[in-house]
């Protein structure tokens, strides 16, 4: 019930804000309601620690047709990610305190709704629960993105992104079907080893890691608060599956790891050179998600969740910090520590999996991401807090601090990746390389930030790589339309009868 309670807090608060927006659009206490709901839910997730592990099982009727329950669970894997999502939701609502309070209640409602769906996805403990949670998030994201898209090109990109997400869902569904063939109720643990790889591929596909593409290039209109929430919660919900499956090496594993390595290096490089943190956000997500996928492919689900939590918490703190505040700027350096994988950091467990040659790529990608983070964090925000009431400044800062504190806390308590010494032999070189890259980024033109652009940029070049696939598809559709025209034309009846007779003669031969 605790899982449901937290989600209900999110959903009911979102509903209250929505109703308030309709019946009393100028209500000055809307933010207070949002903040209260987000705080209660955050504390609720923190309270899970006292009861873990526990489950929420829902079932469909009739039982003969739907024997598998819809299962959610809070355990020492899922809690860390659920906690990160709840902290991010709280931070987004708190960070909104410095904006005009009367106009934003719908985006707060949206953030709370996403928070609730994100918690459901991160707590999903079987493929059926995951499918439903992902579908809900994808539909919510589709509506939000279509509503905010301004350019024709963005709208078209959104439908392509939706299709890619839907294929990710389809991969999970296929893993489920393949396991159903073996009989019995399907849990993540009972999925056949061959089918487990589909889950990893699904996560990689949905986040643009495998094959490398930019699923989020169209989110320029969704910038800081709600945009951050949307991007990071969807990423966390997607990556949550990686913590549920223990992958064994297969023949194709090196290929998948190579693809993830390419995505990690590309994401890290582009993140380091991004003109600012918001323009670099898609690359942050790709880079961190790729590292998470690599950890899962190396048989380290705890490491995969550690990267996912860092993606949400470190990224969230940076993307929400838009104001000039020297203290906050230096406080953000906590994120550098979190990403370092040094002992007792949140990511200390990321190097615990099988070591192979690809670890070098992961190490370089990690260094690029840390260096990029430091560069963006130390540049500081552009907006000023002058003129804001003191309580607004305090609440805004508290929102960022919640995310920073959560990073430190998860390094020590609450889940399987806490209080780990990690692998110093890899963590140390990664950290040193990151510092060198950070220094180099200030001195060498090679590392100079790219021009900020959302069309015709590097991202589109990457997506253009897939144009030949589009051409192939175009050819296929033309052939299919020709067949359809043939069957619908004057001679269609004869063709149909011919097919039917062929079919019957084959059948009659068998009989």
């Amino acid at each position: 019930m605790l899982i449901l309670s937290v989600c209900l807090i999110f959903f009911l608060t979102a509903m209250m804000l929505f109703v308030l927006r309709v019946v009393q659009p100028k209500a000055r206490y809307a933010w207070l309601i949002a903040a209260s709901g987000a705080t209660a839910a955050f504390l609720g997730v923190a309270l899970w620690l006292a009861q873990m592990p526990f489950q929420l099982s829902l079932s469909w009727q009739p039982k003969a047709l739907f024997p598998a329950p819809i299962l959610f669970s809070a355990d020492k894997i899922s809690w860390a990610l659920s906690f990160s999502v709840a902290a991010l939701t709280l931070a987004v609502v708190f960070a909104a305190a410095r904006r005009p309070l009367l106009i934003n209640s719908l985006s707060w409602a949206g953030a709370l709704l996403l928070g609730g769906l994100g918690i459901l996805a991160t707590a999903a403990d079987n493929p059926l629960a995951l499918l439903l949670a992902w579908a809900a998030l994808d539909l919510a994201e589709l509506i939000v993105q279509l509503r905010s898209a301004r350019r024709k090109k963005d709208s078209e990109q959104i439908s392509l992104s939706f299709l890619i997400r839907a294929f990710g869902i389809a991969l999970v569904l296929w893993a489920y079907i393949e396991s159903l063939a073996g009989g019995g109720n399907v849990l993540f643990d009972s999925i056949s080893p061959n089918a487990k790889i589909y889950l990893i591929l699904a996560a990689g596909l949905r986040l643009g890691v495998m094959p490398l593409h930019l699923p989020f290039a169209a989110d320029s209109a969704l910038r800081r608060g709600f945009g951050t929430m949307l991007r990071l919660v969807v990423a966390a919900a997607t990556l949550s599956v990686l913590g549920r499956v223990q992958i064994s090496a297969t023949t194709f594993s090196p290929l998948w790891i190579l693809l993830a390595s390419v995505a990690a290096l590309y994401g890290g490089w582009m993140w380091l050179r991004a003109s600012d943190e918001l323009n670099g956000r898609p690359y942050w997500v790709i880079g961190m998600a790729a590292l998470s996928v690599m950890a899962a492919l190396n048989g380290n689900p705890v490491g995969a969740i550690a990267w996912s939590c860092a993606l949400v918490l470190v990224g969230g703190a940076l993307f929400l910090s838009s104001a000039q505040d020297p203290r906050l700027k230096y406080a953000l350096l906590v994120g550098g520590w979190t990403l370092s994988s040094l002992p007792l950091s949140l990511t200390a467990s990321v190097w615990n999996g099988a070591f192979n040659l690809f670890a070098i790529f992961a190490l370089v990608a990690q260094a690029l991401l840390i260096a990029g983070y430091l560069r963006h964090a130390l540049r500081g925000g552009l907006e000023t807090l002058d003129g804001q009431p003191s309580w607004a400044k305090a609440v805004y800062s508290a929102g960022i601090v919640v995310l920073l504190a959560a990073q430190l806390l998860l390094g020590f308590v609450g889940w399987d990746g806490a209080f780990k010494f990690g692998n110093l032999l890899l963590a140390l070189p990664a950290s040193i390389l990151a510092l060198l890259l950070f220094g180099a980024s200030k001195r060498f033109r090679l590392f100079a930030p790219m021009r900020a652009q959302w069309s015709g940029g590097e991202g589109e070049k990457i997506n253009n790589l897939y144009q030949w696939l589009g051409s192939l598809y175009g050819g296929l559709t033309q052939s299919l339309r020709f067949v359809a025209e043939l069957l619908e034309g004057e001679s269609g009846v004869m063709w149909a009868l011919l097919f039917l007779i062929l079919f019957i003669s084959i059948l009659a031969r068998d009989i």
Binding site: A135, K152, S159, L480, L500
Partner: protein, 465 residues
Amino acid sequence: MSAPILWIAVPFIAGVLILFFFREEYVAYLGGAAATALALIAFVIPIDAALLLGGISIKIAPSVEVFGRSFSLPAADAPLLTMIYGSAALWFFGAKVSRSAHRFVALGLIICALLTASIAVEPFLYAALLLEIAAMLTIPLLAPLYQKPSRGVIRFLVYQTLAMPFILFSGWLLAGAEASPADVNAAIQSGLLALMGFAFLFSVFPLYSWIPQIMEETAPYAAGFLLWALPTFTAIFALGFFERYIWLLNTPQIAAAILFSGVLMTASGGLFAAAQRHLGRIFGYAVVAEVGLILVALGLHSSESANLVFLIVLPRSLELSVYALALSVVKGAAYRLSFDDVKGLIRKYPIAVGALIVAHLSLAGFPLLAGFPSRLALWRELSAQSLTAAFWVFFGMAGLIVAAARALSALVAADDDAKWQINESWIQSLMLGLGVLGIFILGMFPQMLAPFLANLPQLFERLAQ
């Protein structure tokens, strides 16, 4: 009062009265109310059992004889009647919004009555005749008066008519086969003829070419009603047929042929849908794929076959009515439904476009929507029998998802900075909104269908064994 009079004669007469005596503006409400009342009666009042209301005792007799033929609707048929008239009510209320109410409601009621008669008639082979008459009555729905029917409509009629002799002839042979069970050849011949008849009735590959054609050439709402009604009643007729001749389904080759036809229909429907550039044709192929699923459920060697068929059929009326209604609204705005004509329409008709996409995704089995639970249950049974067949069904559904994304891509391609407007009327918005809500509710809580499914084993006892 007898059940056949109540659920066959009354709607038939109501349809005739509406056709000749009522004005356009009231007919949708009238037809919808009549169908709702019939559904409620079927749900509340038991057939063939006395019901005391105050001092009055009501009993609905289960059968009636007409010209030596018997029409029988026993108590076990009550959930079916509720489903049929409840679904018809959805279509009739929606007709008001689609601006084609008068002929639609009148003929719709008559068609529903005839199709209900096809379930009730004994000897049951007369059902083929009633299905044929119903098919002929849909022609005035699809083709405007004083206008030559389009090629798709003609082809539909040709195929439906071809089905009838096969079914009748197979029935005659099957009666003989039952009398002399040792004659294997007669049994096989009769089984093959029955399969041919059902191939035409279900419009299996490649006999479904008329479906995308009529969706392109005629009013989408009327065509949608046809595509809801005929496959639904054909499925019920087929269940009754196989219940009677259960040995046909127990013949592995025949069961495999049905399964194969279904898989081929679903896979090809999805594939063709993904290649279309016309919203109506995409709808048509989505229906083809879904009818394929019904055949797959029929061909499964499982005690859950009948339950699966109804699990697919029940949400289907909601999905198709919402889809067809949304298409009508879009067609009203764009005149034609090709991608070039509907570009950017989401900014002007967001509710209709949203409903269209949700209904399509539901047909494609997208999680959280009404179509998902039935597909999931089907995959569960199917994958245990053949993972290859499960893959091709999965492939067909993936094709429908691609079609949805392509349609969405066209519908959202508005000019830069085009303003958002809501041009749907309040009643269109209400009906579409309620329909979408229903699709989500059925997708999240399929147990709402459990009361219908619970009583079905009584109807098809031998299939459920």
